[in-house]
């Protein structure tokens, strides 16, 4: 049975989001981003 275009594209998009997400987290950790994510900002 032939797969529809969306059935083919969706897993590819999912794979791309996983790969980019994982790479971004590693890049962020490498850039020591966590030190900048602060918790005491006061917004009114």
């Amino acid at each position: 049975m032939k797969k529809s275009a969306s059935a083919t594209i969706k897993p590819i998009l999912l794979g791309i989001s996983f790969v980019i997400g994982f790479i971004f987290i590693l890049v962020g950790i490498g850039m020591e981003e966590f030190y900048e994510i602060s918790g005491n900002a006061l917004t009114l």
Partner: protein, 308 residues
């Protein structure tokens, strides 16, 4: 009585998880005596709207963090990467099972009153808010102060002289102008607790109080109005609902049109028509024991497992 608690009557586990999540995210009692643990956790953004100015919060808000990085001229790789991973795995699941402000809205909706549906077109407002207030404005709009009069003025960074652009005071505009979760959890408690802040209370503060009241009153009459119309995090995670690993499916032949799924949907959707809508918060209220028409499954492809 059954009608009143229809959000949870078939899904007590979600109520249990929401309460636990509320205490884990916003009740710092368990790290109270371990400031170093809290200090560590405060640097981790989690995929729920959770203002990091809340005095008792333990984690960082992804929307606030993302804007903060844009304001200082960087891109938050960790926040964006985390949202891509969570969205890809679960879609908007965290909105339905973990978000404290979503839970507050659901509790307000339990107040007996006439109930209304939010018009469909209003769902698109949150995408505009995501683009304008979370991405464009923190990059491009700054507050300047007149040296002579001392008055503050909102201006485009590009309109400032080149030597001033680098030092322009950009803002996290969504947090500053809109976020009612921040007003409820941080703005009100900080002002009540700290007398020094009373003199800072101005038009902006009352605007945010009014917005919070509008959202909470609207929550009595409609289902999760903030999540449907305003939430930029929900807008972003909702984009993944159609591709995420966790999916829903509807088997037409098994549907008896009992309407239980429509009655119990906290987002006011009809799961039979659009079971993977970007609005769906994956609360699983429609995946009920008595109904075999709507099933959840996890799959990279769109193929539904045979045992479902």
């Amino acid at each position: 009585m059954k009608q009143k608690f229809s959000f949870y009557v078939h899904n007590w586990s979600r109520l249990f998880v929401l309460i636990i999540a509320l205490f884990v995210i916003d009740g710092h009692f368990y790290v109270k005596h371990y400031p170093q643990v809290r200090e560590f956790l405060m640097h981790i953004p989690i995929p729920v709207l959770n203002c990091y100015s809340v005095p008792t919060t333990v984690f960082a808000c992804p929307v606030g963090t993302f804007q903060h990085f844009l304001v200082i001229g960087f891109f938050s790789f960790v926040t964006f990467g985390m949202l891509l991973l969570v969205g890809g795995l679960l879609g908007r699941w965290t909105c339905g099972w973990l978000c404290p402000f979503g839970f507050v809205q659901e509790l307000f909706h339990l107040i007996p009153s006439p109930k209304f549906k939010i018009p469909k077109w209003s769902r698109y407002i949150k995408y505009v808010i995501l683009l304008v207030f979370v991405v464009i404005m923190p990059l491009m709009v700054a507050v300047t102060q007149n040296a002579e009069t001392g008055k503050h003025k909102v201006t485009l960074v590009s309109q400032l002289p080149e030597d001033e652009q680098e030092f322009a005071q950009r803002e996290t505009w969504f947090c500053k102008l809109i976020c009612p979760a921040g007003t409820l959890g941080a703005g009100i408690p900080h002002v009540l607790k700290n007398e020094n802040l009373h003199e800072l209370v101005g038009m902006l503060y009352w605007w945010k109080i009014a917005l919070l009241l509008i959202v909470l009153i609207a929550a009595v009459f409609t289902r999760r109005p903030f999540c449907t119309v305003i939430c930029p995090l929900g807008a972003f995670l909702g984009l993944f609902n159609r591709i995420s690993l966790l999916k829903l499916t509807f088997i037409k032949e098994k549907c008896y049109n009992c309407n239980l799924c429509v009655r119990d949907c906290p987002m006011g959707l009809d799961p039979r028509k659009d079971f993977n809508s970007p609005e769906c918060i994956r609360c699983m209220n429609c995946v009920q024991k008595k109904c075999f028409a709507i099933r959840k499954y996890a799959s990279i492809t769109n193929e539904i497992p045979k045992d479902n």
